[in-house]
């Protein structure tokens, strides 16, 4: 598996750490009900198709990335810096 890091270019999967769904970007705000925390931490769809995941270029530039990939074809259709999205 290869990922194209926006900073480092096309690199081996072994350089990256997989965290989980993009949902982790949306931490509940203060005062949110517990059900929202439950959903944030635990409830995930199991998609056969396009998913957006958080990856971390641990053995590279230490950037967190949003990777768009297809769980059926394994095609990677996008890799973005989380830091860029926030701007």
């Amino acid at each position: 598996m290869r990922l194209t890091c926006p900073l480092c270019g096309e690199r081996d999967r072994r350089e990256f750490y997989y965290y989980g769904a993009e949902d982790y970007l949306h931490r509940p705000s203060e005062g949110a009900p517990l059900s929202e925390w439950d959903s944030y931490l635990h409830l995930r769809d199991n998609v056969a198709g396009v998913v957006r995941d958080l990856w971390y270029h641990e053995a590279g530039c230490a950037q967190w990335l949003v990777v768009t990939r297809n769980t059926v074809t394994h095609e990677i259709s996008g890799v973005e810096l989380v830091a860029e999205r926030a701007k």
């Binding site: 598996m1 290869r2 750490y17 965290y19 982790y24 970007l25 931490r27 509940p28 203060e30 949110a32 517990l34 925390w37 944030y40 931490l41 958080l54 971390y56 641990e58 230490a62 950037q63 967190w64 394994h74 095609e75 990677i76 989380v82 830091a83 926030a86 701007k87």
Partner: protein, 979 residues
């Protein structure tokens, strides 16, 4: 022995003779031979016994698809089972043995299985060993395990090295037959970076086995000339003996190069094999095709082989497999074998052609509309029974029979991403389907392009298309014969068995049984009969099996479909997958700055995370580890001890929001920490469970230094980056891991300050550097350093850090300058004793399941601010008043032993889960208290201080009365550390 079956020609070096043995008998061959070709040259057809029925078998192929001729090579530690004789390159001194037979290959006691075959049909195991259930483990499985398997493995350690390597190219060409060579030539001349890989030791593919001409040369000479040209191109890498084993995601191909298997032992410094990872966006599969046999009764005798293999042995290796040869074919390719053999002077006694019409071979007895229906010759073919077009049967004495049922494109690698092959009725075979691995094109016979001309042309075209070239080289002239085939999979005749999958002993009867029991889908057929499940993945048998199923069910072959293949293309030694990751090199380990000093002292080391740390340092006369550890603890508490704590994670955190950032990271508050001070911090996971702990110091207004546990150094840094980048990108905070940058030592004990004063340049008196102070200092006259007045041991203690390369020197300097205080260096065991005495949590308590409340640190979680895990640490299930609490434990009888992992029980309670009160997390012997002490999690433990309970360990047979005490078992008031 003479090479009785050697004939003229071939690509072997007759000027050199190689000696080898098979089952102890000596033979001779030549460089260029395989073990199979050399044995056949010596008239040896019998090479193995089949898996299930122990039928005598010889090779049916001349390549990697071989299901039968599996042998053991070499002896001793290098003994290797299940090696295909058809691809084992001959070398001088090779020792080979047959396998799966006892006492000998010619007489095999297990051959009785063949007579009992009615009992061993498909599904036999599933049906027979069902009951009684208890018999499976004790009786059936051991017996089956003993009978199963083919060769035997050596019990000795593999003496050879295996490597892994990485390659990048513009175009990977898989297979160096006419299509692959033409593709490589096209890309190579265009200046592209090309890798051409072929499993054979000689490139050329079928060109080496045929008598075709390419251009003005023989096919083999054209191949040699093309390889020679490619070898001159610096942008082309030629890899013989290299099998591409699979296509993986995103343009990664795995390949195994057998660097040394053709040598008695690897050359000095060379690996036996290399696992290559080849990265490329474009690849061409030019893997050729595999011939398939025709199924009929007793079609598995030694001497019966694929017609193309007979031709290959004659043309490439100068070997006639038999003195009297017949060919059974359903297509023109079989006729080619008859012509080639006849031209070589071999006696071709008959061609049995299942087709009714077509070209008649001149000068050969060519029986059209005929079929072979049976054979004789248990240890080697003696005769065949032919049913002629007029219905009459005739027995013909032959000792070799070639079978040609058509050729199957080697679609394997193309189907590794689950692309289903599609049926091409024109060649009666499956060809690559749609949606193969992205960037992989298929050329030549692998694409169903069977003629030499078509192979050359599609190879060229594929390279031009893959690399978007404007033009390729001129195509040399070559034969372009059409495929003339009338499908015949199976001769329906008689009651005997016709073998389909020879490696797994699957017969036509098994397919019929599968049909009868309604396992008619190809996937069910495969699992029920084991068709295609052997190490050859059914390269020669699969299509016949499913064609028979199609016949039986009245469906067409496309309707029946085919199974797909998975990596590896051919079997791979586990050693090459492991590579260098063996023994001590299984994974890398790291050495602390004090490692060399400690080794000089004879220290005992322990793996902690990926570090090797000093566990204890025995002194002369100490025979028990406890003697050393007790001494280290007592000496530290009496005077001063030094411990290397470099392995703790260190993270520099800077920025105007550094304090606010840490307030959100830690459960407690850091923004209020004064500059020059440090504080113990507790870090939670978002689900409210304790993640990590450590002290963090404020070195400046906007600068903190965090320490983490050794085990979590990497994960905490990752977590901080996640929080910084993903959760709070608006914060001005920057992080860098400095774990490797600083060597850090704990200096602990009543004389710790006095010792440090010998090396530290600044005033570190209690007034100048009080408890929990932190600061930048210099040591030994100017070397920059950091000092933290923190204590894990409960003593007056400091941690001092210097740039890593000075760690060894600082340790030696401290020991030398502070010699008057008798400093000792203590290891992780003494460290553990002292922290348990103080009731500090560590690995056993930070177990990923415990909360701050469990640890007695509930008040550290500030609810005045948002922090990671704060909200969920307060949820119902985690705030139970009677939940687990950290307690100290001591035995009522000071001589009684405690063990970690033991469980708390009330007195008189039965040792069952319902009565479980909790467990001991850490246990040590305290030399101060003179007995074992422990920490543990006990339900409502904070309310049970002073009570007596039992700790029970059923595994160790322990049931000990204990007293529950405060976890702070040594100097509970903390007077010593403020000293």
């Amino acid at each position: 022995m003479t090479q009785s079956h050697r004939i003229a020609g071939g690509q072997i070096d007759r000027t050199k003779t190689l000696r080898f043995s098979f089952d102890g008998l000596p033979y001779q061959g030549h460089p260029g031979d395989t073990l199979a070709s050399a044995l056949l040259a010596n008239g040896v057809r019998l090479m193995g016994r089949s898996f299930k029925y122990h039928r005598p078998r010889g090779p049916i192929s001349a390549g990697s698809e071989e299901p039968n001729a599996l042998v053991e090579l070499r002896t001793g530690a290098r003994q290797e089972p299940n090696t295909r004789a058809t691809v084992a390159e001959l070398f001088d001194g090779l020792e080979a043995k047959s396998q799966n037979r006892w006492p000998s290959l010619r007489f095999d006691a297990m051959g009785i299985n063949d007579r009992l075959s009615t009992f061993f049909a498909a599904g036999f195991y599933y049906k027979t060993f069902m009951w009684p259930k208890s018999f499976w483990e004790k009786l059936y499985e051991p017996i089956i395990r003993r009978a199963a398997g083919l060769g035997s493995v050596t019990r000795e350690e593999d003496p050879d090295a295996y490597d892994k390597g990485f390659l990048h190219c513009d175009l990977l060409v898989i297979g160096a037959g006419p299509a692959g060579l033409m593709a490589a030539l096209t890309a190579g001349r265009a200046g592209k970076r090309v890798i051409l890989a072929d499993e054979d030791f000689r490139m050329g593919g079928r060109l080496n086995a045929e008598t075709f001409t390419v251009g003005h040369a023989t096919g083999a000479d054209w191949a040699a000339a093309t390889v020679a040209e490619l070898a001159t191109l610096p942008n082309v890498r030629l890899m013989t003996r290299t099998t591409v084993i699979g296509a993986f995601d995103h343009g990664i191909y795995g390949a195994v190069e057998r660097v040394s298997d053709h040598l008695p032992t690897p050359a000095k410094g060379k690996p036996r094999q290399i696992l290559w990872r080849i990265y490329t966006h474009r690849a061409i599969l030019a893997g050729g095709a595999t011939e398939r046999p025709i199924a009929f009764e007793n079609n598995d005798r030694p001497g019966i082989m694929l017609s193309g293999a007979l031709r290959a042995y004659a043309n490439r290796w100068g070997v006639k497999v038999g003195e009297r040869v017949a060919v059974f074919t359903n297509n023109d390719d079989g006729l080619r074998t008859a012509k080639d053999l006849q031209a070589k002077g071999v006696d071709v006694v008959a061609v049995i052609d299942s087709r009714q019409a077509g070209e008649l071979l001149p000068g050969i007895r060519h029986l059209q509309g005929a079929e072979v229906i049976d054979t004789t010759g248990r240890l080697g073919l003696k005769s065949i029974t032919v049913r002629q077009a007029n219905g009459r049967s005739e027995i013909i004495a032959v000792d070799a029979l070639g079978l040609s049922g058509g050729w199957n494109p080697n679609v394997n690698i193309h189907s590794h991403h689950r692309s289903r092959p599609v049926y091409d009725a024109g060649i009666t075979a499956f060809v690559p389907g749609r949606d193969g691995p992205p960037g992989l094109l298929v050329a030549g016979a692998a694409a169903g392009q069977m003629s030499t001309h078509a192979a050359l042309k599609t190879g060229l075209d594929a390279a031009v298309a893959a690399l978007e070239l404007s033009i390729g080289p001129d195509l040399p002239e070559a034969e372009d014969a059409p495929i003339r085939i009338t499908p015949l999979w199976h001769v329906a005749h008689g009651k005997g068995r016709a073998w389909i999958d020879q490696q797994n002993d699957v017969t036509d009867k098994d397919v019929k049984l599968a049909k009868q029991e309604n396992f008619t889908s190809v996937e069910h057929l495969k699992r029920y009969t084991t068709l295609g499940m052997a190490t050859d993945q059914g390269k020669t048998g699969n299509v016949i099996g499913l064609a028979i199923m199609a016949e039986l069910t009245g469906r067409s072959i496309p309707e029946t479909g085919t199974t797909i293949y998975r990596p590896p293309y051919t079997p791979v030694a586990l050693g090459v997958l492991a590579g260098r990751s063996r023994g001590k090199e299984f994974r890398p380990y790291r050495l602390t700055p004090s490692h060399h000093w400690a080794r000089e002292q004879g220290a005992v080391f322990v793996e902690v995370g990926n570090w090797l740390r000093t566990q204890w340092i025995p002194k002369p006369g100490e025979t028990e580890w406890r003697q050393s550890v007790d001494r280290e603890v007592l000496a530290t508490r009496r005077s001063v001890g030094i411990c290397d704590v470099t392995t703790l994670g260190k993270i520099d955190i800077q920025g105007t929001d550094a304090g606010a950032f840490l307030d959100r990271i830690y459960a407690n508050t850091f923004s209020t920490l004064p500059v020059g001070k440090c504080r113990y911090g507790l870090m939670l996971r978002e689900d409210g469970i304790v993640f990590d702990d450590g002290t963090t110091a404020r070195m400046g207004e906007h600068e903190y230094v965090m320490t983490t546990t050794t085990a979590n150094a990497v994960t905490v840094f990752r977590h901080l980056e996640f929080c910084r980048q993903c959760l709070w990108p608006e914060m001005d905070v920057q992080l860098i891991s400095t774990t490797e940058a600083w060597a850090q030592f704990s200096v602990a004990g009543p004389n710790a300050r006095k010792l440090l004063e010998k090396v530290v340049d600044q005033d570190i008196s209690d007034a100048a550097f009080p408890y929990m102070a932190a600061g930048n200092i210099t040591v030994c006259g100017g070397l920059r350093a950091r000092l933290f007045r923190i204590s894990f041991s409960g003593e007056l203690a400091y941690e001092i850090a210097v740039p890593t390369r000075y760690g060894d020197a600082l340790l030696r300097e401290m020991l030398a300058r502070g010699a008057e205080y008798d400093p000792i260096v203590y290891g992780t065991e003494a460290l553990g004793v002292m922290r348990v005495e103080k009731g500090h949590v560590a690995g056993g308590e930070l177990n990923g399941q415990s909360t701050a409340l469990n640890m007695g640190l509930g008040r550290m979680v500030s609810k005045k601010k948002d922090s990671i895990g704060m909200v969920l640490s307060q949820r119902e299930g985690l705030t139970d008043e009677n939940g687990y609490r950290l307690v100290g434990v001591k035995p009522v009888d000071p001589n009684a032993k405690l063990t970690a992992g033991s469980h708390f029980l009330e007195k008189g309670a039965a040792p069952v889960a319902a009565n479980d009160g909790g467990w001991l997390t850490s246990k040590v012997y305290s030399p101060h208290l003179g007995h074992d002490i422990a920490l543990g999690y006990l339900k409502a433990g904070d309310k049970k201080i002073g009570q007596r309970m039992r700790i029970v360990n059923l595994l160790a047979g322990l049931d000990t009365e204990v007293e529950i005490i405060s976890p702070h078992m040594f100097d509970p008031e903390g007077e010593r550390l403020r000293g």
